[in-house]
């Protein structure tokens, strides 16, 4: 086989294999949409499950996931953005900074179920929150932190250096420069990071297993110290724990979860491209 032939062969194989990997992604999404769309209705989204979950909707679980996502936003956003500002603007190139970076890399790598253990040990038991929205939200928030930090830091570093130089030379202090010159320009990137993090938090199951999620609750939560149902856990319950579950409800639940998470991804992508287009430096 000549060099040219093996070149052509390699190229063909790589292209075919890539198609075989990428096409199923589309297929998986379409498959869930196709099988789940029939279940979707206003009632499905708002009504509680009935008849041992075999009928009715997913209202309480959907609401629980929305509430949890809010708590995560409140927990992870300010903290993550502050840490990103520290890394991008204040941290010197020393041992401490290297440790902070190592810590963030490792936070990103810790298995989600280990976050669940930590949440159980600290928030549920040690701090005495019990299995509650606040315990689950804090656990998910910590898990989201590395995503928020690293994308925000990238966004802050992408603001050109001369913005800072000019602002400082006009007599602004360091914080004024960051607040009025750097952060506004870094905002789209920061938002992207936050939205991606929230999307991930909304879809996670393992961290909420022992910190907040309830199998079934007849009533909606009244405070952040109550348990709540949550969509990912609900999908787990109705697909493995309830015998004789109708497939349409399972697929419908999977579809709603998928739509929530993917819409976060989509919004993040739109924010990024839209803002990037307007930028002119």
């Amino acid at each position: 086989m000549s060099r040219q032939q093996s070149n052509r062969l390699a190229k063909a194989i790589i292209t075919i294999v890539s198609a075989m990997v990428i096409i199923p992604i589309v297929f998986v999404i379409l498959f869930v949409v196709y099988n789940g769309i029939g279940a979707l209705s206003w009632e499905f989204l708002t009504a509680p499950p009935t008849n041992g979950m075999r009928e009715g909707g997913i209202g309480p679980a959907l609401l629980g996931t929305v509430i949890l996502t809010f708590v995560v936003a409140i927990v992870a956003m300010p903290f993550g953005i502050a840490a990103a500002i520290y890394l991008a603007e204040y941290a010197k190139d020393n041992r401490l900074t290297r440790w902070v970076r190592l810590a963030i890399v490792n936070l990103a790598g810790i298995p989600s179920v280990v976050y669940g253990l930590f949440g159980l040990g600290v928030f549920v038991l040690f701090l005495g929150f019990g299995t509650s929205i606040i315990a689950g939200g804090l656990t998910l928030g910590l898990m989201t932190l590395p995503v928020v930090i690293s994308t925000s830091e990238e966004a802050i570093l992408a603001v050109p250096q001369h913005f800072r130089t000019v602002s400082l030379s006009l007599g602004a202090t360091k914080w004024q420069t960051i607040r009025h010159q750097v952060l506004p320009h870094a905002l789209p990137g920061i938002l992207t990071g936050v939205i991606l993090g929230l999307g991930r938090a909304a879809g996670e199951t393992a961290p909420i297993l022992f910190t907040v999620a309830a199998f079934y609750l007849p009533e909606l939560p009244k405070s952040i110290f109550d348990q709540t149902m949550a969509l990912p856990y609900h999908l787990y319950v109705i697909s493995t724990q309830v015998p004789g579950m109708p497939l349409t409800i399972q697929y419908g639940t999977a579809l709603v979860l998928l739509l929530i998470v993917l819409s976060f991804t989509l919004i993040a992508t739109l924010v990024r491209t839209n803002m990037r287009r307007r930028r002119e430096w």
Partner: protein, 308 residues
């Protein structure tokens, strides 16, 4: 608004004071990431240490996980995690590299602009949704192919491979992208074909980045919980060694924690042991990520040095 802002700036003293507070908060937030990692490890130790003190080591690394009879042998769980992860790596690494090569070297720009977001979307699909699909589609399919049950280590490996692919693809592609264009031009100019250039020049040059991609893929696979819990059959047995071992039900460390933590009494030895498994998981992923980030550091320094 602008006027008041200016006035605020001119009265300097209170502003400086506020600034000091904000900067302190920022510094604390940054450094507390270290504290969080430390706290996570400490709390795992606090709840999990009795595992390693109260259970004789020989029993702890024994072959039987049977908490009802107080048998806490974690060997089956270690083997389960290992099998599922190895299977996933064998599937995902070559596929991920091939897709990365395609995206980085062959795909036309317009196609790459479509495919990259698509792969990001795959990364965003919740593991519980993939677990659900594995449970309703993949498992019956594998059973039809002749396995005694569809819930096997192999089923888990397939789902995990799919989940690790985005990580492997995007990091490998970054590594390929970081190879200077001069290398390719040089190889092509002396008459190498495109494939020869990729195989002999680009891939070796990107080697350390590719190693990182594989490591982080492994880290992702070994920590995955829900999908694995749903599709691997959850039998805490050590499969008979041999090629058939991938087609038997297994149980991973992560799945064990997820499945049993809800039912144990707080403070019992079973409870402690689940945290003990958490310690092992933490240490494995900590090692993987620390080594990977060290390689990145070395590589980054070298590249910066090269530019000067």
């Amino acid at each position: 608004m602008t006027a008041s802002k200016q006035a605020e700036t001119q009265t300097k003293t209170p502003h400086r004071w506020g600034e000091r507070v904000i900067e302190t908060i920022i510094r604390i937030s940054g450094v507390s990431t270290i504290v969080i990692v430390g706290l996570i490890f400490l709390f795992l130790l606090k709840e999990g240490l009795p595992t390693f003190l109260d259970i004789p080591l020989r029993q702890l690394f024994g072959r039987r996980w049977y908490p009802i009879e107080a048998l806490y042998g974690i060997l089956p769980l270690l083997v389960g995690s290992l099998l599922v992860t190895i299977g996933a790596v064998i599937i995902a690494v070559p596929l991920g590299l091939i897709v990365a090569i395609y995206l980085g070297e062959f795909a036309p720009t317009w196609l790459r602009e479509i495919l990259k977001p698509l792969i990001e979307i795959l990364a965003g699909i919740p593991s519980i949704v993939l677990g659900f699909l594995g449970w309703v589609i993949l498992a019956p399919l594998i059973q039809d192919m002749g396995a005694p049950t569809g819930l096997t280590a192999f089923t888990g490996s397939l789902i995990l491979a799919y989940m690790a692919l985005p990580t492997i693809i995007s990091i490998s592609e970054d590594a390929l992208y970081a190879v200077p264009k001069e290398y390719r031009d040089g190889a092509l100019a002396i008459g190498a074909t495109q494939w020869q250039t990729i195989w002999r020049v680009v891939l070796p040059a990107a080697r350390s980045g590719l190693v990182i991609a594989v490591m982080l893929g492994v880290g992702r696979a070994i920590g995955e919980t829900m999908a694995v819990l749903m599709v691997t059959g959850n039998a805490a047995n050590i499969p008979e060694p041999g090629p058939g071992m991938f087609f038997q039900p297994v149980r991973t460390m992560t799945a064990t924690i997820a499945a049993e933590m809800g039912e144990v009494a707080q403070g019992s030895l079973h409870y402690n042991t689940l945290f003990g498994i958490g310690i092992i998981l933490f240490l494995i992923t900590f090692a993987i990520n620390s080594i990977a980030s060290r390689i990145v550091g070395v590589q980054g320094n070298r590249r910066r040095g090269g530019q000067l």
